[in-house]
Symmetry: C2
Subunit: 231 residues, 2 copies
């Protein structure tokens, strides 16, 4: 299998949270793959074959699948004898809902928190593209978001309140064992770890303890993730 | 089985959203029960036997269970041969998370929207208790919340955005068939329907279409719910 993943100035350090969802799903299923790095400005041409304007794109033999959610469903349906990502149809529906729910209260303020750090880890040509496409999303300049990052971080932490409350009763978002619901959340933290030196959690939060449990999975796949060095 | 449920001035019209979760769970499991009406000021004495300060309380033979989530888990574990509420352990974890997630962005602004209407449907003695215990939760008087109900309603509708987005891809929150995740959300609308004449949804919202599907379940259990008449 071949997985197209987004990179900045270091082609070995993919950072997209949606690609991380796929990498974790592949690890959960115990499937091998190689990665193909793509920068922001290469996406259009490189992923044209897949009819996709976004990463991840997965190529599995004859099959080309884009969108992290569609890829998760593809893996679950195509490899049913490997460990389940959803634990059944109800769990699949719930993971789909969670992937949508995490957007506005969690991913969006985290993006505003990280946006200047991400920008600083891109090649110059990608920086221009990133500014042009992302500033309209945050309704301010990257520099303004950088100045106000503590406000965004606070919104992000408030957005985690229900997740922290839940983790007082359970080890993982999928129950006793981690599965796709956990990867949806964990991918956001790997995104942050790759792109920013900022400390975004209080270490006593239940979600910080859960992160430690997640870091222990798949031979430390997430634990080994390092910050992209600035050029 | 005996289910203790909260009522206002009409002992036949229970309105607590958490009791509705249990009623829908019992209907889903195909289990029969009788209800015992309890008013706000009766709760302490009537439910002392259960060690609970809140409804619902379910009595099933020798077993006394309180808290809607614990009751759902009890029913699932005690009646495993009846239709499943969770569809497995992952679905159970997801329903637990959803029950927490729906609180702040959905239930809380809906409570502020309804609070004056609920107050108007209680007996005088319960009105005093309700004001004393609920005004601190909404950080204003009931009358102030009534004046600003459109603001609260807007927050509630914004809180439904991710649920509306999800329903563009699926019939029910539990997938192709309704289950406990759906009852968590549906119970909020039955609460509103019992206590308030306000129109709280745009009829073109995906969630309004889903409500119609939910109204068709269990011989119209929810469809038949009527507003409590003012005394």
């Amino acid at each position: 299998m071949k997985l197209y993943e987004l990179v900045g100035c270091d082609p070995k350090k993919g950072f997209s949270p949606f690609v991380w969802r796929t990498k974790l799903a592949l690890a959960h299923k115990g499937l091998n793959y190689e990665t193909v790095p793509v920068t922001f400005t290469e996406i259009k041409e490189t992923l044209a074959f897949a009819g996709s304007k976004t990463v991840p794109v997965l190529v599995d033999g004859e099959n080309v699948i884009s969108d992290s959610w569609d890829i998760a469903c593809y893996l679950e349906d195509t490899y049913p004898d490997h460990p389940s990502l959803f634990g059944g149809d109800t769990g699949r529906a719930a993971a789909n809902l969670l992937g949508i729910q995490v957007g506005m209260p969690v991913l969006f303020p985290l993006f505003r928190t990280l946006v200047a750090d991400i920008h600083g880890r891109l090649n110059r040509i990608d920086q221009d593209y990133f500014r042009e496409t992302r500033e309209p999303r945050i309704d301010c300049t990257i520099e303004e978001a950088a100045v106000d990052f503590e406000g965004s971080l606070k919104v992000f932490q408030l957005g985690l309140a229900s997740y922290n409350a839940y983790l007082k009763t359970s080890s993982f978002f999928s129950g006793e064992k981690p599965a796709y619901a956990d990867y949806i959340i964990y991918s956001s933290f790997l995104w942050a770890k790759r792109t920013s030196p900022k400390v975004i959690l209080d270490k006593d939060d239940p979600i910080a303890k859960w992160l430690e449990r997640m870091d222990g999975l798949f031979n430390g796949l997430g634990a080994k993730v390092q910050l992209i060095e600035k050029d």
